[in-house]
Point group: C2
Chain length 366, copies 2
């Protein structure tokens, strides 16, 4: 009830200890919780204040004060994406081995859901969070700052957020995309479709506008687009906006856009797909025209899977170290919880181009 | 600290209200939390006791006393399985629409992980739980009983647990399997492999022992096996233990077992696969022998996916209503939290056989 005053006998809170010590609540929480970095001087002040006020973590209040619940919170954009399911597996395996339970929330790429998820996890007193964020700029990261302000360390996974100076565990998106497109170029292709670009309504007319649009959207997508453009540049192939798909990332849309690229006077002969649903959408369009892969259309995509290996033809795909992404993120976070200072750096893991049989010379040039 | 006595001014707990009213803690929690069924007579006694003791939920203690945190806990066997990812999506969509957040824990088919997950979710004060359990008998459901004893309603999804009298939202596993195998028989097959059976070391020699072994393992697997045997029985095809794969459910093992069935003197001509990894494993074995599907080998499997539709040939698959499984489970649970009495029944949803092109007559009979 508002206006209620604390009972005189109520034990001191972390906030009161922080005020007494003249430090922030997060610093007091880290000191009393025994995790994260606190300078020796501040630590001493917090411990003295705690002793003076008679602060003592009791079993009931522990999860509400020190944050030591041995639970990690994980926020992923879409648990229905096998990629994120694999990342979560890596996180769970590593945190379990180190005595931590893992709570997962899926936001289905909605920032409002992500904000709600962060609040729930804060409310549930997780010790730290691993986040694959839908946030793209400084205006959309308030919930992550809230967690940090409460002394809850956050590690980003898969997606860096340029406006946040945090540890981020990612893959070499730009290099991986460049390598894939270079492979298509080396096979003789010059009309290479990009499935998919930023979720804007209309394809920007210039390369610069396209990059700008990508920069206002997901970091991973922007990096993969840059890799595609890098490879075109290196080969002296001009950028053609007709060969870039934009709009919602759904399979049907990918199929329709690939069909459109097949109707161009100078039609597409190869595709680079940045997501699994782009690959299956592209294959639907190819099958619908009774075209063959790779005879009529070459294809390379993200991510490799058991299905890709048993396709006819087996698909050349980019394999991401999904489990390692998760386990590395968990390790970085658990090290911070164990007292290590956050390194606030990008941990970049290598992908691997799994060369199978979906790339050949363009039709008429075999 | 042990031995510490409650402060005289401490507000009464739910347990104290329950003792005063002469009811169980769960009954008091449901009454004061405003969820679940409580008989009018008991409800009146609880409310009278609460008034007498001056019980009042305050903001800080609310999540620890009444359980009304507007959070659901979800325990799934493997979030890396696209099936469970789809179920979780259904749960999240429905609970979000009704104002509840969802915390997910994946147990990777380990019962000890499931027990830990249940404890974490109880500890995090979820209002209710949806569980796809790895438990198979009464000796392994203690953690679910613990949740129920704490007044946390539990709804099972995908997997019924015969020893628990709870609401369970499942599919028609036995009918779906029978329909698939009937289709293979109708195409002329009599040598139909079953990938996969129970995770035992050796194939039981008799049909009765096989069913017994399945009954000691996952309910879904046992139901699918029964459907396979139903279809053989109806067609007068004798059970052959050589055509049943047992052991760990991994793709490589499925590939090896299908290769073994291809080496039999009277070799297998069709396969019924109960899981996606069984399908991809079977396809690996078929490709490794340069056999064609469906010319040399027909195949039907669980579950349909975007990949199955773009295979060569497009695969005939069983489509499960994954989203609806999740949304129905969430609805049943939220209704109980809203005051409805649990119906403690099996809610069986229909699957659909998606007929594509992976079934043909056996080789030599086309």
């Amino acid at each position: 009830m508002s206006g209620e005053r604390p009972r005189p006998s109520a034990p001191p809170t972390i906030s009161e200890v922080a005020a007494e010590a003249g430090v922030g609540r997060a610093t007091a929480a880290r000191t009393l919780g025994g995790y994260g970095y606190v300078s020796p001087e501040l630590k001493e002040r917090v411990l003295a204040a705690a002793e003076k006020l008679g602060y003592r973590a009791n079993a009931l209040a522990r999860s509400m004060s020190t944050g030591v619940t041995h639970t990690l919170g994980v926020i992923v954009a879409d648990i229905g994406n096998p990629f994120f399911a694999g990342v979560v597996r890596g996180i769970c395996d590593t945190s379990r081995a180190r005595g931590f339970d893992t709570l997962v929330v899926s936001t289905y790429e909605r920032l409002d859901e992500e904000v709600a998820a962060a609040n729930v996890l804060i409310d549930k007193r997780v010790d730290g969070m691993i986040v694959a964020s839908a946030a793209v700029d400084h205006s959309s990261v308030g919930h992550i700052r809230t967690a940090l302000d409460r002394g809850i360390p956050v590690v980003l996974v898969d997606r860096a957020v340029p406006s946040l100076d945090l540890d981020a565990v990612v893959i070499d998106n730009r290099d991986a995309a460049r390598e894939a497109v270079e492979k298509l170029i080396a096979a003789g292709h010059r009309r290479i479709g990009f499935v998919w670009g930023p979720p804007v309504d209309k394809v920007p007319a210039t390369r610069r506008e396209l990059i700008a649009a990508a920069s206002r959207n997901l970091w991973t997508d922007g990096e993969r687009l840059r890799g595609y453009l890098d490879a075109l540049d290196d080969a002296g192939i001009p950028f053609d906006p007709e060969l870039v798909m934009v709009g919602p990332k759904v399979e049907k849309r990918a199929a329709r856009e690939v069909a459109r690229m097949l109707d161009l006077p100078d039609r597409v002969t190869a595709l680079f797909c940045t997501e699994t649903d782009g690959v299956t959408g592209a294959l639907r369009a190819i099958r619908a025209r009774d075209l063959s892969c790779p005879g009529d259309m070459s294809l390379i995509g993200f991510d490799d899977s058991a299905w890709a290996a048993v396709m006819v033809p087996p698909l050349t795909m980019i394999e991401q170290p999904v489990h390692q992404l998760g386990s590395t993120a968990a390790e970085v976070l658990l090290d911070v919880l164990g007292g290590a200072e956050p390194r606030r750096e990008m941990h970049t893991l290598r992908t691997r181009l799994v060369d199978r049989s979906s790339v050949a010379a363009p039709p008429g040039r075999a």
